[in-house]
């Protein structure tokens, strides 16, 4: 589970200070599917970056599965991301020189998977996000929504213990969005997948256990939704 306490992130630009997060405390239980919403500029991506070990807060503490992740060295954090986290960037962040399937299996390669394993697994996950016929396309040959789905496949390929997704459906039509959210929900239910997802579509709420609303870097509201924590998850 994730325990974040009093997360504060201040950007200093010359004399101006931007307080992107002003002290956010949040717990996410194992097997929970949490949605984060809020206006543009409210700090959603900043929060997700810190939970994804891509950025360090100015103040505050983060422990994931009991590990104080802020105390880790940069290389330990890299290894942590590789082995435990899946991250979908708001701007997809694909490697332009690689094809869709290469983008997906790259981290499996690092983990030392055998060629058959990683090819089979990445092909399967690409089919599940509806890109079975786009595997050998490069970023420049994919639409925005297709790139976004490659990014989702890449985040899921290693069965991460936590999936962090920054507006993963921003560029998808409602039907494709629904199929992605169904996939997330199934992973959440069947594999107890912990998911923290940024979204500002109201109808996504039916998928979440809990919605956290940010406003100017602070938690404005926290609401339980229809789908309480998945049974089997620790509270």
């Amino acid at each position: 589970m994730i325990v974040a306490e009093n997360l504060t992130r201040v950007y200093t630009m010359g004399k101006v200070e931007v307080r992107a997060l002003g002290g956010v405390s949040l717990e996410v239980a194992r097997g929970e599917f949490v949605g984060i919403t809020g206006a543009s500029g409210s700090g959603k991506s900043t929060l997700l970056h810190i939970l994804g070990l891509l950025d360090r807060p100015t103040f505050g503490r983060v422990t994931i599965d009991g590990i104080d992740v802020l105390a880790l060295s940069d290389r330990q954090r890299t290894l942590f991301r590789l082995n435990r986290l899946g991250y979908v960037f708001q701007d997809y962040a694909l490697i332009g020189e690689l094809t869709a399937i290469e983008n997906v299996y790259l981290t499996s390669l690092v983990r030392g998977a055998s060629k058959e394993d990683y090819l089979e697994r990445s092909a399967e996950i690409l089919r599940r996000v509806g890109l079975g016929d786009r595997m050998d396309h490069r970023q420049s040959e994919l639409s925005g929504g297709e790139q976004q789905r490659v990014a989702i496949a890449r985040a899921l390929v290693n069965n991460p213990s936590i999936l962090l997704a920054d507006e993963p459906c921003a560029n998808l039509d409602s039907q494709t969005s629904r199929s992605i959210l169904d996939l997330f929900a199934r992973l959440n239910e069947e594999l107890d997948q912990t998911i923290v997802m940024v979204s500002h579509e109201d109808w996504h709420k039916e998928y979440f256990c809990r919605v956290v609303t940010l406003r100017d870097g602070l938690i404005e509201e926290m609401t339980e939704c229809g789908r309480g924590p998945h049974p089997g998850g620790e509270a």
Partner: protein, 403 residues
């Protein structure tokens, strides 16, 4: 172990995709630059080796043979020259010897004069050591019985109406002309020019030859020699032969042709080596700067990509190694292209050699020089590839991804 292998596999994978799918123009340009640096590193040493080789060949073939026997300390001549020649010729590996009497003389021809060296030789013997007799441009070489004949170097014979730039020249002597020679003991003789030779070795082309029989008579010598030249079966083992000769109890001074030519070549080679060192250093600095700039731009252009790689959990060492592998690949191809270019240049210069005062110079590409160049190129490229990758990899992930 498996972790190291997996890491290397990923580095190689990324490196290959990057080369394969990156800009072909930049790739070709970088390879070409490395190839040219390679040529620059190898070419000048090959010319210097060629100069040394030409000089050695000229010294052996026209000037000195492989070994030179000189009078003992304090004597002007070697006595009992024939006995000594026979002793030496019996030693295995010795192909021939030639006893020479040397005289500084003045030549007169149609009111012109030139001071230079005249050698007294036994033509048969001289043919067994030097190749001068094979380099006649006009007429023919001496025979053992000749007494009133002289053969002359092309520079000394000269060309009608042409100055020889400070070298002794009679400006236009031809075969059949008569030349007067004033010996150091005051005697003068008139000889008919029997032949003219041209070896391109200027010390030889400014001299002339008569038979020892003739010179002995003029100088009143008997079985004496100023120097005995010795030709060995193979070149390059002069030191061993010298030891061999000494072990036969020869009392005279024995020197290898290198020792004899010594000062002059050594100085020339030293100067060449300084030029070569400077040129190598400059080439390497250019290589560092160019490879560094190209790799740096290449790496900076991929800041975002490096950031993404780190973000998805790829260790920085894997990323750095992928850049180093790319550089190694580019350098290897560059060195191969460079070798091809150099082979072309060498072939051309072998067909159309550069002409130096000592004669035509053929480039001699020596394996150690090539290996040294390859090694320094790789060293330089790895450094030039490592530093920018290392710098960018240490950057903050999000700033790198934002680009």
């Amino acid at each position: 172990m498996t972790a190291v292998f997996a890491a290397l596999r990923v580095s190689a994978f990324l490196a290959w995709k990057s080369i394969h799918r990156g800009s072909k123009g930049t790739l070709a340009l970088t390879i070409m630059i490395i190839a040219l640096v390679f040529v620059n590193l190898v070419f000048l040493p090959s010319i210097i080796s060629g100069v040394v080789e030409t000089f050695n060949a000229q010294s052996i073939d026209f000037n000195l043979g492989n070994l030179v026997i000189e009078p003992r300390e304090g004597s002007q001549y070697i006595g009992n020259a024939t006995d000594l020649q026979q002793t030496v010729e019996r030693i295995p590996g010795i192909v021939g010897t030639s006893a020479r009497i040397t005289a500084g003389v003045t030549y007169f021809y149609r009111g012109r004069n030139a001071a230079s060296t005249l050698y007294g030789i036994t033509p048969e013997d001289e043919r067994s050591v030097t190749k001068i007799a094979d380099y006649m441009t006009e007429g023919e070489f001496l025979s053992n019985g000749d007494t009133d004949a002289i053969v002359m170097g092309a520079t000394l014979a000269g060309v009608e109406g042409e100055e020889a730039g400070g070298l002794p020249s009679l400006r236009g002597v031809g075969v059949g002309d008569s030349v007067e020679v004033a010996y150091p003991n005051g005697e003068t003789r008139t000889y008919r020019v029997k032949g003219i030779f041209k070896t391109q070795s200027f010390g030889v082309d400014t001299a002339a030859f008569v038979t020892s029989r003739e010179m002995n008579e003029v100088l009143g010598l008997q079985d004496q020699a100023s120097v005995i030249l010795v030709k060995t079966e193979v070149n390059g083992r002069e030191e061993e032969y010298k030891m061999e000769l000494l072990s036969y109890g020869i009392q005279e001074e024995i020197r290898t042709f290198q020792e004899k030519a010594g000062g002059f070549v050594d100085q020339a080679i030293q100067s060449f080596n300084i030029i070569n060192a400077i040129s190598t250093l400059v080439s390497l600095i250019i290589a560092v700067v160019v490879v560094f700039i190209v790799i740096f731009i290449n790496t900076v252009n991929r800041r975002r990509q490096i950031g993404i790689l780190k973000a998805i959990g790829i260790d920085q060492q894997i990323i750095i190694n992928s850049y180093v592998l790319q550089v190694l690949f580019i350098t290897a191809v560059g060195a191969l292209v460079g070798m091809a270019l150099n082979a072309g240049l060498t072939t051309y210069l072998t067909a159309y050699p550069l002409v130096f005062p000592g004669g035509p110079v053929y480039p001699v590409v020596e394996a150690p020089a090539v290996l040294r160049s390859i090694a320094s190129l790789f060293a330089v490229s790895v450094v030039a590839g490592y530093i920018p990758a290392w710098q960018i990899v240490r950057e903050d992930i999000l700033s790198a991804i934002r680009g």
